[in-house]
Symmetry: D2
Subunit: 356 residues, 4 copies
């Protein structure tokens, strides 16, 4: 399995080519649309009123409703595009964005409009690919689900890492604001409201679980389950940290607390606790695979910011106008799930386990 | 650049083959030995009294003292090996280790002695490869250095991410206990002592900086600087989390705090703060690249643990005898530096920047 | 540099995503169209009267007429598609085609119409990608050109491997029937005419040269110039053999004949002969890189053929109706050039030589 | 599956690291030794009297006689090394060898002695890896075997491509001079004798068959069975051409001759002829996979040759002294088999078919 994303925010289209899809999977376009809808902006007061058209066209790799096994290309046209918004600030690098670094790497030839290829818009085809991955994994009863664990210091309940049910994932995925404890969600929404009013933004943490993985997938070294997952997750814009199981809390634990006791259960070996997050030595242990990612606050804010004009080299002040999410964490939830599904698929393949 | 590690803890040798080394680098074996010495156990009271022989033999890729550009193989023979220690607990999977997952993946054919290929012993050839990488990077004035940021809740000072000097890295690398603030180090050592006395162990956090990187290295997507670094870092045993810049603290920041203002400096563009950890959109911005990794507490502890006998399937109690580090964090510091150096080398290569 | 082709002969579109294009290349769409025109069927009596629309749409990676450096996606819609032609022979595997092998690999879920993803139609986006590659290489004064060396036993003159001029390549590329000696071309055309009249087909050999390569590109082992070129060339349907320089004639030569004497020329080291085809030890020697590929006769012929019905498992007779090339060798010339250009680009990249 | 070869002809050792070996294979070292013996020089009058020690040491990846599944490293020490032979001709690039191209690529830092990393000596660890691959494939009843098809114009009988028996491969592998028809072998030996007496050398063709492959392995595009095989085969020094099935003879065939009729056989679908060499559309069809490779005449000859002194840039005459094979084709037979076995293993893996 491998995929390539392509497209720019304000070009003709964004899309993805996905190689290695097993043949014969009845692709449910409704499921894909639902995932894209979860990611789409403009749904509620917590996201930009800009309304993207995320209608996708499948160009290849599907025949008579089923995957063929040959490369699957899907296209999402860009429609709600106002390039004029970006002309006047073309050379004013937006702090926290990739404007400056992209300008250096691409020597000034990048499509600067709306962040170009760095735009969060590229997460739409990623969610498409992830939805295909989830349908592939569903054939092995593997489920992926995430929720918002924290926004600007306000925390949700955590998954109970030894006991997560697929139904629980389905419930939280169906929520407009995906948290386990809706009261915590209310507190988070208040933080987002305050940030919007202050023309500022907030970040947060997404916690994600993968259920149904067999023991023995993954490897030591650079093909470890953690290596493959983190490679996919850090490909998502704004992700700045990834941790597995107890994650950074390991630094405050004793070995006797951190080690998960191993027991013979009714249906095979289980661990009594799951601080390892389902992975030991880079290899899955059949417990829920649990990880967290931190999402930085949306770099686009309405407050004045200090920057440099990349054309003239002079210092400048930038005020980003227009419509921007004060918090992308809710929309990031299905994106993280998508990246995780693609990574898990790759882990199974690398381990010589056919995905279906 | 790519490398392969090979070997088992109690086999004849461990080693590495490193491809893509530029020709003509005068390899300083003294520098390699110094790095291996930093990683070696048995140096002081904080690590196992077991004394490994880390004498390496270079088998290829070096001629007349300089690298040839062809694959470089280095071998470290295993000498202080007492297999007998492991026979009686062969089938008792050690909690927190890869015994159980490796047993499933390798179907019982793994070399179980001392963790086999999963052993921390494999970090010796990794440090070797990292030392070569550091000498390659030194030709471009790129320096890598790390310190212990936290052990069992006791914290060191952090790097000032906008102002780290190569000399500072050299000073901390020279310390027997590599912390920025030695008083903090004393507190940490106390934690380690307590853990040893309790036959327990503690984990911690390592903070690492890479200095001298140009702007423009890296890419969006799965070749992002973060993706490549995390892939290498999660290949190190016991690493369970990786974060860049402000990392998980981003979840408590506002966008206006998190965005690093861009300014025209005397020697080019700089950022006034460095919450991004030197990377935007997966691409370096020429600020110090700063990241943290969390190291779980050493799984080998002297206390009784609940486990399963993998041969009989029955529940059992395990007491790990022998000599084990109550804390591997100090020894992990040069290992993290090695993985980082190899990753940075790969990032530069993937970006079309010759490494020297 | 890497690329993914996608699409099926009778699906909505075929296309390509090309990663690693350097930024700032002024993409000349006229050159791309010219290459696609050379590949297009229906141009003359030697090819099928079916008229494909090869109009391409660039969806990403180009901005204000220049490449951006981000993934470049191009789409070619399928228009002249008559699926009805294929329904009745759906399960009759065409000998010489991939119908049977594709049916096994894709378990019956493949898009069988017109060969699906195995169709020669996929060479259109390959030629697109190759044309981009040629424009990248042109920035380094590297030129790629091929001619028909043989069709059904009738041979053209060979390149003089020590003395090929870029102008010579341009002249032969401009010909409707690309041979060095037009009289040989007349003989070949007669063979094609005879095959068409007999409802049969003929194969041939294409000879290709790459000019302007520096010495030192390539590597020993699986990244050898020959390995990379042959990997790309065998990706072209109907290619069944690849040889470099004297190729299979080496088996009749003495070492004293085969070794190319090395001399100091006016502009540096040259070889007096070029039996090695510009490559020694997998690495270029700055002489013209010359290779030949053999193209099997078009498997689609109008004569009755013995086959099996893949649905019923019974033996059957197949008569392929409709319009088919009696010889695809002339159309294969720009395809081989495209594959070679992409391979050479990869060779330069792998060697750490920026492509522009 | 992937492997890395390392070592130089006159360095301490040559070797290989092989990743992805399935666990639990009872590695028969006798079989490995036999393959190395077939490759070894000094066996008879047709090869150099230089006697290499090919004793191998397995450093990792094997435990209690069986593969563990972790990287397998094997080492072959260089013993019969006389570096002094090479000092005086250090800068005289040997025509036909990689001396000049290696000197450019590695900027003069290469180990020049005996060809260094380009030496045919590196085929010893390749044969080691190939022998492991053959033992892996044997678990699926897949056999690989080759013979000399041609030496300096003298031809052996060809395999009957629709009917090759594993026993036939075993018989020819056991011969000191591996040809199907020993009378043809006598003619070839005469050619070799003449070349030796003339201080010259001769090349030839090796024909190789792979039996027992299932239908459906491989893929269209750059992962085609032909692409993977040719990538591995062109990694073998002196290989300058690779063709499948009828190969370059396709250029003289009609489609009606070239297409292999498909029939329902007793044990499933078979082809009546096998001009395709067991591969259609890059995918295996369960017929014997048959290919040929051409081996250039040994570049090391005793006759005076024109060259350049790479240090001074002046023209020079070179006489290569010492002991050299007048024909490496017989010793190349097990090397081609090894490369083929490794490639077939990779093809099966890429196709999602576990190798055992």
């Amino acid at each position: 399995m491998k995929y390539m994303l392509f497209g720019e925010s304000h070009g003709p289209a964004v899309g993805v080519v996905l190689e290695g899809v097993p043949p014969g999977i009845p692709l449910e376009e409704g499921l894909i649309r639902r995932e894209l809808e979860r990611r789409a902006p403009g749904k509620n007061r917590f996201s930009t009123p800009r309304r993207e058209e995320d209608a996708f066209e499948i160009l290849s790799g599907v025949f008579e409703g089923k995957t063929t096994g040959t490369p699957l290309c899907a296209l999402i046209r860009n429609t709600d595009v106002k390039s004029g918004d970006y002309e006047k600030t073309r050379y004013l690098a937006r702090p926290g964005h990739a404007d400056y670094t992209g300008h250096v790497k691409y020597r000034g030839f990048e499509d600067y409009r709306g962040g170009g290829h760095f735009s969060g818009r590229l997460t739409a085809p990623l969610v498409f690919a992830g939805s295909v991955a989830r349908q592939v994994l569903a054939g092995r009863s593997i489920a992926v689900g995430a929720h918002i664990l924290e926004i600007h210091g306000k925390e949700d309940a955590s998954f109970d890492p030894v006991n997560i049910l697929p139904e629980q994932l389905a419930v939280v995925a169906g929520k407009a604001f995906p948290v386990l404890d809706d009261k915590c969600g209310t507190d988070m929404m208040l933080e987002i409201d305050q940030a919007r009013e202050a023309r500022d933004s907030v970040g947060g943490v997404v916690e994600c679980a993968v259920l149904g993985l067999p023991a023995g997938a993954g490897a030591p070294g650079q093909d470890s389950a953690e290596s493959i997952l983190s490679r996919h997750l850090f490909a998502v814009p704004a992700v700045k940290g990834v941790s597995f199981g107890a994650g950074f809390r390991f630094s405050r634990m004793l070995g006797s607390e951190a080690n998960d006791p191993i027991r013979q259960g009714e249906a095979g070996i289980i661990l009594e606790t799951n601080h390892s997050g389902g992975i030991n030595g880079g290899i899955t242990n059949a417990m829920p695979l649990v990880f967290s990612v931190v999402i930085r606050p949306t770099p686009s804010i309405g407050l004045p910011q200090r920057t440099v004009n990349l054309e003239t080299g002079e210092n400048a002040e930038l005020i980003i106008e227009g419509r921007h999410d004060p918090c992308i964490v809710p929309r990031a939830v299905p994106v993280i799930e998508a990246a995780a599904a693609l990574a898990v698929w790759e882990i199974l393949e690398q381990s010589g386990e056919g995905a279906v």
